[in-house]
């Protein structure tokens, strides 16, 4: 049995996955000093993030479910594989990655924890995982849902390919159950004005959660 319907969806998706400026601005500061590292980018799409990391002098391997995107990513990353992480084994790409980048991926997975667990088998003992995902219970969403609005719309938190929603506490709990602790947080805060105040309550004001994790000792 195959879940080709899911792969087909991502292959023909009209709106290309690209990381919004806001999110990129929060992810890259955490990675800007990385050089000479072995990086695995999960859900690499066309390689728009990995390309930058490669230019910093890192070795970047990309994985994505979309054949079409992987064709493009092959031109900018060191190695790229088409894989459905929920039904296939990891490709032969070596182990001991220093960093695994999982940006805007977990919300697309049926069982995200099982996938992260699988990815952790190729992570160095002291390696890091960067995860970003939307906060389902951002204040604005709470208000919208209170008013009865919940519609699947492309390019929003409630996107129809988002099959698993995270909140700040549930993300933390999932990471914890995987033996991961958060070492840095750099969320996209909304509203932007007075963000330095709002960031004290990520469960309400983080619109996109961005966390860097490593294994517990």
């Amino acid at each position: 049995m195959s879940r080709s319907i899911i792969a087909d969806y991502y292959n023909t998706k009209k709106i290309p996955f690209g990381i919004s400026g806001d999110r990129r601005d929060k992810i890259f500061p955490l990675l800007k000093d990385l050089t000479d590292k072995k990086i695995l980018e999960v859900g690499c799409a066309t390689g728009y993030m990995g390309e930058k990391l490669r230019k910093q002098g890192n070795y970047v391997v990309g994985l994505d479910i979309s054949k079409k995107d992987v064709q493009k990513a092959k031109k900018v990353l060191d190695q790229v594989f088409v894989i459905d992480l929920e039904s296939e084994r990891l490709p032969n790409m070596g182990t001991n990655f220093d960093l695994i980048l999982v940006a805007e991926v977990v919300e697309h997975l049926f069982e995200p924890e099982l996938v992260i667990k699988k990815l952790m088998t190729v992570l160095k003992p002291n390696g890091q995982i960067l995860i970003s995902t939307p906060n389902f219970l951002h204040l604005y969403n709470r208000y919208k849902m209170l008013c009865g609005k919940f519609e699947y719309v492309e390019e929003t938190v409630i996107n129809k390919s988002h099959v698993h929603f995270f909140t700040y506490p549930t993300l933390k709990k999932s990471l914890n159950s995987l033996g991961l602790k958060i070492i840095k947080e750099n969320h996209v805060i909304f509203p932007r004005t007075l963000a330095s105040i709002w960031r004290k309550w990520p469960e309400l004001f983080a619109y996109q959660m961005v966390v860097l994790c490593e294994r517990y000792e």
């Binding site: 929920e86 069982e111 849902m145």
Partner: protein, 215 residues
């Protein structure tokens, strides 16, 4: 086998109708006789059993093999089928009634499935019975406002629920498949609101139970 298929293999055995949901569905279907019925996500055949007793011909499909082994003893026909896989098992077979109870919330592209069913498998004048939880029932709205949302092993926030419906979302999907709503018999919570509650399904329907007909 993918993680998704694996998830359902034994879980489907535990699916059954909550009492009130079963009651609401049966209120609609108890008079049906001599129909060709397709039960999608039939599990062990717990809905189809009574329909068969009433003289309908019931075909069930489910993603779970262990569930289908049981359903084969209960229904007229039962097959293992991943509705979002590649199989063409249903082909152009026509049915007078298609039951889609507590299924669409488990699908990646539910509207595609329903559109295909209406086009290929629903007889002229055929009906579809759909039931699914209301994600924005007022109790959930309050929970979300307070920051409470987590997946559980069963119930409204079952972790295999990958697509959530509101009243507007569900009706929109039904219409986009060229179906017309002919009956609503949703489970209302709190129960004492009764008919008044039924007038505001977006707030008080806990489980939508809707019968729709091909336009």
């Amino acid at each position: 086998m993918s993680q998704i298929n694996q998830h359902y293999q034994n879980k489907a055995l535990t699916y059954c109708l909550g009492n009130r949901r079963g009651e609401k569905i049966w209120q609609i279907l108890s008079g049906y006789k001599g129909k060709r019925v397709l039960d999608l996500g039939c599990s062990t055949g717990y809905i189809g059993r009574d329909l068969k007793k009433n003289g309908n011909y019931v075909v069930g499909v489910d993603i779970s093999k262990p569930a289908i082994i049981k359903a084969k003893n209960i229904l007229d026909e039962a097959y293992v089928l991943d509705l979002e896989g590649n199989s063409n098992l249903l082909g152009k077979k026509k049915f007078d009634l298609i039951i889609i109870a507590e299924l669409i919330e488990h699908l990646f592209l539910p509207e595609t499935l329903i559109q295909n069913l209406v086009r290929n498998n629903l007889a002229n004048n055929g009906e579809i019975l759909i039931s699914t939880p209301n994600f924005l029932h007022f109790i959930n709205r309050v929970k979300f406002l307070l920051g409470k949302f987590k997946y559980e092993n069963s119930g409204m926030f079952d972790k295999s629920h990958i697509h959530f419906f509101t009243y507007t979302g569900l009706i929109g999907m039904i219409r986009s498949a060229n179906l017309n709503v002919v009956k609503e018999n949703s489970v209302i919570v709190p129960r004492l609101l009764g008919k008044v509650g039924a007038r505001f399904p977006s707030l008080f329907a806990y489980q939508f139970v809707i019968l729709a007909k091909k336009l």
